[in-house]
């Protein structure tokens, strides 16, 4: 105000002219800057979207690759295990068997029956690998508990699981997807983490289904997960990502605040209850 009071009338009009022009220029410059800046931000986002699309392609390729591997494994199991077993049975039950003495006949039939039993067991194992019966018949909770009991039963690692809120089962296909993700995560922990315990907890909160796995070994955090997801390695993690996308869920990897263990959290929308 002192400046204004000290200025003469002509000075005031000069200040007025300069100030007004300055303010107009500043305002217009601000608006142009905002528009330009936003365009730049949008370009950046488009680039990120493109990268995400590329990432999705990688994930899709990974999932196709995994499917192919699974088929190959299945074919190998059938060809290498079931094939020779059945061929052996065929050898035991050849047409010469009727010409053999009774003891040899009984021995051959017994042997063939033994091999057929093995083959049945083998086919059952293959089928269980495709769709665990516990999961189909009793749900995710039982299947996970079963899996953890088996791991714990080995004696090398302490595995436990606790479902807090699982009265209403998820849809069958969702359960299978989550179970596969858990299997993959557990597999990774067993293979790479060298941890002494694995603990799984489940709960439902704000219409969301949560599942968290804790372990005290070597683990990864979110940035590692994203890095691995973008790289050519880590097929299992890519598969986890694509499975999570199928159920519209999220997976996050973090280290606990206490820095003593790692946490993997699965979050996805809860199924709508069936209409009565």
């Amino acid at each position: 105000m002192f400046f204004l009071q000290a200025t003469s009338k002509s000075g005031v009009s000069f200040v007025l002219f300069l100030g007004t022009v300055g303010m107009v220029v500043l305002t217009v410059a601000l608006i142009i800057f905002i528009i330009m800046h936003q365009r730049r931000v949008m370009r950046f986002h488009k680039k990120i979207q493109q990268m995400e699309q590329d990432q999705q392609k990688i994930l899709l390729n990974a999932s196709i690759k995994l499917q192919e591997e699974e088929r190959q494994r299945l074919a190998a199991d059938l060809h290498d295990d079931a094939g020779p077993l059945l061929a052996t049975v065929r050898l035991y039950l050849n047409e010469n068997l009727v010409n053999q003495d009774k003891t040899t006949q009984i021995q051959s039939i017994f042997q063939a029956r033994q091999i057929v039993d093995d083959t049945i067991q083998l086919v059952r194992n293959i089928s269980h690998n495709l769709m665990p019966p516990t999961l189909k018949n009793f749900g995710l909770e039982s299947a996970v508990n079963d899996l953890f009991q088996k791991i714990s039963g080995s004696g090398s690692i302490n595995a436990s699981s606790r479902f807090h809120e699982y009265k209403q089962r998820l849809k069958e296909e969702k359960e299978l997807i989550i179970f596969r993700v858990v299997q993959e995560l557990i597999n990774n922990i067993l293979k790479h983490s060298n941890s002494s315990f694995i603990h799984l907890t489940q709960n439902v909160h704000s219409d969301k289904f949560y599942l968290r796995i804790h372990h005290d070994g070597r683990g990864i955090v979110q940035s590692d997960f994203e890095k691995l997801n973008k790289s050519n390695v880590g097929l299992g993690l890519k598969n986890i990502t694509s499975r999570m996308r199928l159920v519209q869920g999220n997976i996050s990897f973090e280290k606990d605040i206490s820095q003593t263990y790692f946490k993997v959290t699965i979050e996805m929308p809860k199924d709508e209850p069936f209409a009565v």
């Binding site: 007025l16 100030g19 608006i31 931000v41 949008m42 909160h205 704000s206 949560y210």
Partner: protein, 229 residues
Amino acid sequence: MDKIQIIEKLFSYILESSYLLIPLCFFFSKVKNKALPITLLFYGVAFFFFLHFYYDIPKDFRKIEQTVYTLLEYLFFSYIIWLITDNKKTRRLIFWLSILFLSFEIYYFLTSGPQRIDSIPVGIETILILFYSILYFINFFKENTQNYIYNDSSFWMIVGILLYLGSSFFFNILANHLSDEINDNYWYLTFIPEIIKNILLSIGIIIYKGDSKDSLAKKPSTVPYLDMI
């Protein structure tokens, strides 16, 4: 009537009419039942009548008239920004600063003498509205990354308000220091950004879709019994 007076009269009529453009666009807009277009409708109608009868009010009441004008303008602008901002902190800040401004306006009214224009409240109003506008832009960039800013109706409203307040800021601040000659000859120039503002507010009403920016769904900080400890 000399040339300047004719120009001033012409600008004055255009300015008055430009306020009517806002209610006119309101009736042509697709969304009428939302707070923002309704506020703008009231703004247009109120200021049309205010300007229309501005010089009919006796000079003794000029101080009241100026105070009410500044206050109404501030309240309308701040309420418009308050409506188009989703950010709770910004809204709270606007609310408290408005209370402070209101108190100051009352104090200024009671303590100041007669003058050409209430420069100080107008100056503070301008600074506050410019500040809110910048906050609006910051919030827009934080929350909205999908749409171009100029596709948003609120952008045109803010640009109108910014241009109007920015351009008339020095005129308003120095109004009491200007000679009568300069004031009479150049005052009508402040009508230009005001007309532009009214046009931009009208564009804002027309392109207004009633969409509120969805605030990002926040992750629950803690899910019971999910952690081991």
